[in-house]
Amino acid sequence: MGSIRSLFHRRWIDRHALKPISFEVAPGEIVGLLGANGAGKTTLIKMLAGIMHPSSGEAEVQGFTPWHRKAAFKQQIALILGQKSQLWPDLPAADSLMLLQEIYGIEPNAYQQRLNYFLDNLDLRKLLKTQIRRLSLGERMKFELVAALLHEPKVIFLDEPTIGLDIGSQRTIRNFLHDYRKTFRPAMILTSHYMEDVVALCERLLILREGELVFSGRLSEITDRYAQTRRIRLGIKNHEMNKAILAVCPQAKEGTDESGTLHLSVAKDAVSETILKILQVAPLVDLAIEEEDLASIIDALQTSKAAPRHLL
């Protein structure tokens, strides 16, 4: 019935994809923009790349308002969308790259020099004359990077550049981006759902939840600020000692396996004190202290339902 009704009368709902947020990215810095699906990451990137026009607010990229779409602004940015291609699928990559040379007005010598850099670093030389549609996803993504970086942009927006790639290709792209940043020092904003990308590339994180910026800071600050507990895993020789340990550490829980392992979650300031207490009542065969998983903390930050109270 709803579908038939909508033929005659449609109801429009205004939804704010992004609430007011403020941040800066310095040259040479890679900032990770994280958030659950629909949090507003891609919307933010599209606004900063000049694709979308916001209903209100201001932004400045290299001194330009992005959505004015000045040619001089576009010369300085690059947008890499992991799920979209800017290359012509029926032509060899060389043809698309030559077109980009003309679009960005790159001098022939500079073009050749940059092309050589990319081909050597991404191991693409032998694929330059292969039709794009015949390349694997990983190879295609490498050419997408070349296409986007050929004009040496000062600001790079990377929207899930490793999505769908195998582990080897992910690593290659991560290593390349790492080296590229060191050599050319552009400002980069990266969105990714892969923790490996975030940990390997980003020094600073911005976490969005339902269009709101809920965290802005260095990667290390996340664990410092939000990982308030440590997990202690105890291997005990004699199971009869469990009761004694539980008596001094009531918060300890018995493991589900049959190895007799005990798991404790204790405040990070109380770790050494707790271990000393345990050692006084029971001999241990194994002891491991683990930090809270970074992915779990980020997940808790970016999804309100999953977020434990102490994280918010």
Binding site: A49, M52, K84, Q86, D90, E102
Partner: protein
């Protein structure tokens, strides 16, 4: 403007990468159009007691319909239902918006490249048909007719691109605009003399349509190729064509500038 030539030539190479599909559909279309028109006009002329229309013997009518059919194909290109409207709907516009060159310029270069390949192949097929079957009643075109034809085809291709653009930019508001494109095709077919020559329309309709953009797309180029267009009429056709090109350029540009503010880049 070197990028324009690169896009143009890239599009040509892309089209030539798969020539068979074009030739098969072209051959089939020409066969069907020639057969239908042959039987239809034979029946019409028979019903008039064998008296042909003034200046339009049976073979000329068939040839006319084949020329307009080819021109429709050349102008429609493959972006009739895709192109700008599809870019907006699918979010493919995103990649063009970050290029420091004009989006319309980029799309126009693609359209011209695609049309050029279609035109060369279709024109070759038409000439083969002309020389094989209808050259006795219809002498092969002279240099003057060919010159007029090429100029009017170029203007027609440009005009059709801009008419399409004006309609397709409505996708910023309506998302799916293919129904409008079908409606436009029918309008052009009916009002642009693509089915029957404009000379066979009632005089009042001819007088009105003369100033419209529709006959510029196929009827007038076809008449030029058949050697039926005087130089003053050709000059008039070019002037009207340029005027409509400017009008649709203005409309499509305004529509794009307004619409892109609503664009959300969904789908990418």
């Amino acid at each position: 403007m070197r990028w324009f030539l690169q896009v143009f030539s890239g599009q040509i190479r892309m089209r030539l990468a798969y020539p068979w599909s074009f030739w098969i559909t072209l051959a089939l279309e020409l066969f069907v159009v020639a057969s239908i028109n042959w039987y239809l006009w034979s029946a019409v002329i028979d019903s008039r007691g064998g008296v042909a229309f003034a200046g339009f013997p049976l073979t000329t009518l068939v040839l006319y319909s084949m020329i307009t059919s080819i021109l429709r194909r050349v102008q429609m290109n493959f972006d009739q239902f895709g192109g700008i409207g599809d870019d907006i709907f699918s979010g493919a516009l995103n990649k063009y918006l970050v290029y420091p060159v004009s989006y319309f310029g980029f799309r126009y270069a693609m359209h011209l490249g695609g049309s050029w390949v279609s035109f060369l192949q279709s024109f070759l097929a038409l000439m083969i048909f002309w020389m094989s079957f209808v050259w006795q009643d219809n002498p092969l075109p002279q240099l003057a007719a060919l010159t007029q034809f090429f100029v009017l085809v170029f203007l027609g291709v440009t005009l059709r691109f801009l008419i399409n653009a004006a309609i397709q930019t409505l996708a910023f508001w309506f998302e799916q605009i293919w129904a409008l494109m079908i409606l436009l095709s029918f309008l052009i077919m009916l009002l642009g003399g693509q089915l029957i020559p404009m000379d066979l329309y009632p005089v009042w309709a001819q007088n009105i349509l003369f100033w419209s953009p529709f006959p510029l797309l196929a009827a007038w180029p076809a008449e030029a190729l058949l050697g039926r267009m005087s130089w003053p009429l050709f000059a008039q056709a070019c002037s009207i064509s340029c005027l409509w090109i400017l009008i649709f350029l203005g409309i499509s540009h305004c529509s794009f500038s307004l619409g892109v503010r609503n664009y959300s880049g969904i789908g990418a």
